[in-house]
Amino acid sequence: MKVTVTTRSGRELIKGQLELNDSATVTDLQEAIHKRTKKYYPSRQRLTLPIKPGSKEKPTVLQSKKSLKEYTDGNIDQLTIVFKDLGPQVSYPILFFWEYLGPLLIYPIFYFFPVYQYLGFKGERVIHPVQTYALYYWCFHYFKRIMETFFVHRFSHATSPLSNVFRNCAYYWSFGAYIAYYVNHPLYTPVTDLQMKIGFGFGILCQVSNLYCHIILRNLRGDGSGGYQIPSGFLFNIVTCANYTTEIYQWLGFNIATQTVAGYVFLFVAAFIMTNWALAKHRRLKRLFDGKEGRPKYPRRWVILPPFL
């Protein structure tokens, strides 16, 4: 089989054609392109079938596991593929690791080091018990997320664009510093002992539930075969995205205990972002499992934030 690879402007990416086996898969083609171009490793490539000029249709994206034959229209010997460079890619565990490492390291700096002295505050800093518990709570949270990244999560996409690393790190690191600044402030005002205990207690409960949710999601993906399934078990029996629910409520627990405006701002931004993801996932699952032609029907469930949504 002869494959012509062009760029989106129609220029030949590879001079001449690629000779491939008749039983070659899309993965084989990607590796062949990588071998010839050196620069474009498979996860950087987006391969599509050409579309008619002027057509508004979305082009068909080639799925890496499929055989190339499936994309030929009768003429098995000839195939033209359009190539797009997705830019440098990083794997998801690496992206998550850098995102979470920031808050894990930045927060203790405000607790342990005389940051506020450099910022011009004079006098002795008395540390309230709630500030110490908050440090443990915060660090446990991000340590847990890093551990989950490497030992629990299965990722449906292999890589993410490198630019996401900078965007996401800016988000997590600056919010981490913003919250740490207020919780560890020398002029910090603690809440009552009871409120603190309720907040941290509820938060820990949600964190443990969150871990359990992630384990359920991991087992759902099973042997890494991919594809969507109806999540079930534990809180997933009532909420589609119980993993986000528990994540949001554990931040609520932290905020009840520490009571800073910065923490609540983060809670609202995070809840807003996760709600958008959850709505998309809920819609996708409802469309996929519509109860027609033998497909199971997606049960009635909350999306993310019972009893509101």
Binding site: Y182, H185, L187, T189, V261, A262
Partner: protein, 217 residues
């Protein structure tokens, strides 16, 4: 619904036009007769009213009454409201500055053109071509003068923000938060750096679109 919104927009545009016309007229008159120190006091009432009415324009865009995108109206009107209420109204010390005159006159001419253009368009379905040309050309000069007056006045007000601590929230408090108006002003000035070229190039593309359309007709 179409007719009702047109009547409403016609009334809205001409009402605000009257406000800006007053601002411009009084500003120029005061500037000539008594000097730039007195311009703010003379225009205060119509300026605060006319500029605040622009808040409705954000709502018009949000509920789909007009087609202008929120990404263009929000920074434009937001910065105007900030300078009007957050600087001029809040810090009387800056009101006698010469930049107030250039600011008010730049805004005044822009808005008199803009509201009469949209007012005519809503009322009669189209606007005379000289008004269209003015609407999409005056900004070429008036944006730079207006924006530099805004930036200049924020800068002039900054020492007074620092001394007065107006609008500042300090620790300790129950909600463990603080707010520093001076730092917020620095951040706002920072936003002008990407904001101004963005709005100017947006207007340039609007100009190209609007003026080429009339040529074709």
């Amino acid at each position: 619904m179409g007719l009702l919104s047109r009547i409403y927009l016609t009334i809205y545009n001409w009402t605000v036009f009257i406000g800006w016309f007053q601002v411009l007229f009084i500003a120029v008159k005061t500037l000539i007769e008594s000097g730039h120190e007195h311009v703010y006091d003379a225009v205060e009432k119509p300026l605060l009213l006319a500029q605040s009415a622009a808040f409705l324009e954000i709502l018009h865009g949000l509920i789909g009454l007009v087609r202008s995108p929120i990404t263009a109206t929000l920074p434009q009107i937001g910065s105007r409201l900030y300078v009007t209420w957050g600087i001029l109204y809040s810090f009387p010390e800056v009101r006698t500055h010469i930049l107030v005159s250039s600011l008010v006159i730049s805004w005044g001419i822009t808005e008199v053109i803009r509201y009469s253009f949209f007012g005519t368009k809503e009322a009669f379905g189209s606007a005379p071509s000289f008004l269209l040309w003015l609407r999409y050309s005056a900004f070429l000069l008036l944006y730079p003068t207006g924006i530099s007056s805004e930036v200049g006045l924020i800068y002039v007000a900054m020492p007074y923000m620092k001394v007065s601590e107006k609008y500042c929230i300090r620790m300790p408090n129950k909600w463990n938060s603080s707010f520093d108006y001076f730092s917020a002003a620095i951040a706002t000035l920072g936003l002008y750096i990407p904001g101004s070229p963005f709005l100017y190039s947006y207007m340039l593309s609007q100009r190209k679109k609007a003026l080429s359309k009339t040529k074709r007709e």
